[in-house]
Symmetry: C2
Subunit: 134 residues, 2 copies
């Protein structure tokens, strides 16, 4: 399964910006958990792991957030902006996020509840496990 | 069904703030859609309707957002802050949101995909329909 950019429905008017996504159209999983990251100073890096089972959809809410990941296509990067696209990260894709601006915020939908055992911090181990699955 | 404030798991460290919620613990529905509101100027009011079927969970991402609603307990208000609590709005509860600060942003999880026919704009009609259901 590959990382995929997900276009969002965007409606901008004088009341602000609305972005929306129907999960059945956009992602191959049913979210069981949401988490939101905010108040990260520019330069802060978070993530830095893959997941054994958890699928995630990352949506930029404000500011600019760089997502770096490694999959079978090598090392890649996408900068999340509030109007989309969002990014779908499948299991065993090692990724990290760098917060580039003040007031950046990120909303993540996850396919599983939080479990420490689901995290793989080491990119080499993540790569090895991905090789075993494909 | 009543409006309910939903406490969130909050982890703050020098990398910023993470807030999280497992849907099975927090809300009586399975989200099928996410939408995010941002770039609303202070004083902007959005919402102003109830839903025939749609349940929603509103989570403050940044800034301060006042949620006003009317249910069997009368007129009520809660200001969403980034550390929670979030607010669960059941069907046929008429609600509106006022964006109080610059850079405020709101993430909403919804139980249904978007349908125009699901919206009830008139608070009196919403009240009448709620009376028929209870």
């Amino acid at each position: 399964v590959l990382v995929r950019l997900i276009d969002l429905t965007v409606v901008v008017d004088d009341r602000g910006r609305l972005v929306a996504s129907n999960f059945s159209d956009s992602i191959p999983f049913q979210p069981k958990r949401v988490f939101i990251i905010s108040d990260s100073a520019p330069g802060v890096v978070r993530g830095g792991h893959s997941h054994l089972e958890c699928h995630q959809l990352l949506i930029g809410v404000s500011g600019r957030i760089a997502v770096y990941w490694e999959d079978v296509r090598g090392e890649n990067q996408h900068v999340l902006l509030p109007g989309g696209p969002a990014i779908y990260i499948p299991p065993l894709v090692w990724a990290k996020q760098e917060y580039l601006t003040e007031n950046s915020a990120l909303t993540v939908l996850a396919s599983h509840e939080y479990r420490t055992e689901d995290y793989v911090d080491d990119p080499d181990e993540s790569r090895r496990l991905r090789g075993l699955r494909t």
